[in-house]
């Protein structure tokens, strides 16, 4: 069984910005360990000589020309905003550093 503790999940939940109760953390730790056990054989299959595939179809050099396209108005941009002021999105205080 993969070892995933409640603290591990608490850390992941913090990284993922999802508030979780103690109960949720415990339940998630159990489920996560279960799932990781089911998928971990993946790490034993491919050796260092096997390249990774990040894109299923290999394309390269897909670019856009540098010319201005469509732009939203500030009103359109802010149309879904939970809170706004002075044509800007409004958020509560930021605890973190800048």
């Amino acid at each position: 069984m993969a070892e995933i503790t409640r603290d591990d999940v608490a850390h992941l939940a913090q990284l993922a910005r999802i508030e979780m109760s103690a109960d949720e953390l415990d339940r998630m730790a159990g489920e996560l360990a279960h799932i990781v056990d089911a998928v971990k054989s993946v790490s034993e299959v491919a050796g260092p000589d096997i390249p990774a595939t990040s894109h299923p179809i290999a394309l390269r050099n897909v670019f856009r020309e540098d010319s201005v396209g469509h732009v939203l108005t500030p009103t359109e941009a802010l149309s879904g905003a939970p809170d706004a002021a002075d044509d800007r999105f409004k958020v509560p205080a930021i605890l973190d550093e800048e």
Binding site: R64, V71, L72, G80, A93, I94, D96, E97
Partner: protein, 501 residues
């Protein structure tokens, strides 16, 4: 509150500094890195955004080809190798100025790597700085912190977000550790950032205006005991955004680290915030698990393959390098070695070039920048470019002097007015009532009085001692409270006394 420091000399007796820089350069493309919204500064909030810049559900990025080409040019100008294959990666972290809560950047596959630039210090000594990498990424939006006492983030009640800057193309240039600068480290820091600025401006890929954040510097500093080879723990001072600040921040961090180490303490690995007002840093976030950015290759973008032909065609487009440009300008302007070095060291070469382009002669441009503006900048403790004097204003002011409307002394007062934001030189001249008295009638009256007041001097002049005329000129200037054209006064006196100058 402020951290203890050792004096710079004491610090240098005991320690060798190691520097490192991450400089972010905003590219001046017409559109953003991954969207076709305009890349423009200073517009109405959230008016230069489309759904991609806001990270709306369902959107996808598409790479701006011009931004890639600018990045390759920067890499070439920094003598880097251009990667034949590179990719974008997602840097995952939550912050409200980052619309997707990840920054599309490059991680282990930067577009340019392993370069160098030679930095010329004030006395002509050349110092080679090695470049680790230059990678492409996107800028974040702009936060304004409201409701706090200081406008800073601490104590703010809420913040407002403008995403106009979100998605603006950036190139982040990262140096290898810079060892061996010794006591010249602060000077080198400034010169390095100045050189990067000069290079990207010269390439035409960035407006390179530091006051607008086009070039932003994070400065890493660590110390090791003199003679040691193992690097100490470093601090990273974020967003040091003027050349003078870079120099001061590095000096401050050296002195602060030295105080910590000399007292037997341990430097904390952390980010530091630079405070221009006090010229000190304060602790930011310590490096920790929170820095787990979970990079992975951006699945919505495909790899970039820079073929040799493409790179070479871009190389062929590179403008002359700044060092060669300096050589050319010096010759074109006809400045002497010391004159030109002073211009470069004062950081006004570009300004002089602009002023000449605006219509001034090389001599006049140098006279104004070196003779008037640099001194005022020193007094105000800012970079000369930050005084807000445009090349157009200088040309106008110079024209007023050459046209006989102002003398040099009055022109200085007009310049002060321009710097104080009172308007164009003509507007300042008129508002301040600075009118050069060149009406011969008025001057002749004053000359008569001055000659009458100093008959012996008048006699000397008549006798051929032309240099004595200065005393009479002085008298006239005094009488006209400096508003006379001294040259014309001299002419009139000599005329009146029948002496050929």
């Amino acid at each position: 509150m402020s951290d203890p420091t050792l004096s710079f000399d004491e610090a240098m007796e005991q320690f060798d500094p190691v520097l490192g820089f991450e400089v972010h350069v905003e590219l001046n493309t017409k559109t953003k890195m991954f969207s076709s919204a305009p890349n423009a500064f200073g517009d109405h909030p959230n008016s230069n955004v489309n759904e991609v810049d806001l990270g709306l559900p369902g959107v996808l990025p598409v790479v701006n080809k011009a931004a890639v080409e600018s990045s390759i040019k920067i890499g070439l100008a920094l003598n880097c190798e251009i990667a034949e294959y590179c990719r974008f990666a997602r840097k995952n972290y939550f912050y409200p100025d980052t619309p997707k809560n990840f920054q599309t950047s490059q991680y282990d596959e930067p577009i340019a790597h392993d370069g160098w630039i030679d930095i010329e210090l004030e006395d002509g000594e050349v110092f080679r700085v090695e470049i680790e990498r230059a990678h492409m990424e996107e800028d974040a939006g702009k936060l304004t912190h409201m409701g706090g006492a200081t406008g800073r983030i601490q104590g703010a009640e809420y913040s407002l977000v403008d995403y106009n800057r979100a998605g603006v193309p950036l190139v982040e240039i990262v140096t290898k550790p810079i060892v061996g600068a010794g006591r010249r480290a602060p000077e080198l820091a400034r010169a390095y950032v100045s050189a990067i600025r000069e290079i990207v401006k010269n390439l035409g890929v960035s407006d390179a205006r530091m006051e607008r954040g086009n070039v932003r510097c994070d400065a890493n500093v660590s110390l090791m005991p003199k003679g040691a080879t193992k690097f100490g723990i470093r601090s990273e001072t974020k967003n040091v955004n003027s050349l003078r600040s870079v120099e001061h921040a590095v000096r401050h961090e050296i002195q602060r680290h030295a105080a910590v180490l000399a007292s037997g303490g341990k430097v904390t690995q952390e980010t530091r915030h630079w405070h221009e007002d006090t010229r000190t840093t304060t602790a930011g976030r310590p490096k920790s698990d929170a820095d787990d950015y979970r990079y992975f290759p951006e699945p919505d973008l495909v790899p970039i393959v820079a073929t040799r032909e493409w790179v070479e065609s871009l190389r062929a487009q590179l403008p002359e390098p700044p060092a060669e440009r300096r050589k050319r300008l010096k010759a074109a302007w006809g400045y002497s070695d010391p004159e030109f070095r002073d211009v470069v060291n004062a950081g006004v070469m570009d300004a002089i070039e602009e002023t000449i382009a605006a219509g001034a002669t090389p001599a006049a441009a140098r006279k104004w920048w070196m003779g008037e503006i640099v001194g005022r900048a020193k007094v105000a403790d800012v970079d000369p470019g930050e005084l807000g004097v445009t090349s157009e204003a200088i040309v106008e002011l110079n024209g007023l002097v050459e046209g006989g409307k102002l003398n040099n002394k009055m022109a200085g007062q007009v310049l002060d007015g321009v710097i104080a934001g009172e308007g164009t030189p003509t507007q300042v001249m008129e508002a301040r009532g600075l009118v050069l008295v060149s009406d011969d009638g008025a001057l002749l009256e004053a000359i008569d009085s001055a000659l009458a007041a100093q008959p012996d001097v008048a006699e000397k002049i008549r006798g051929g001692k032309v240099q004595a005329v200065g005393a009479i000129v002085g008298g006239v200037m005094k009488a006209t409270r400096g508003q006379a054209d001294a040259g014309r006064v001299r002419e009139l006196i000599l005329e009146k006394l029948g002496v050929n100058a």
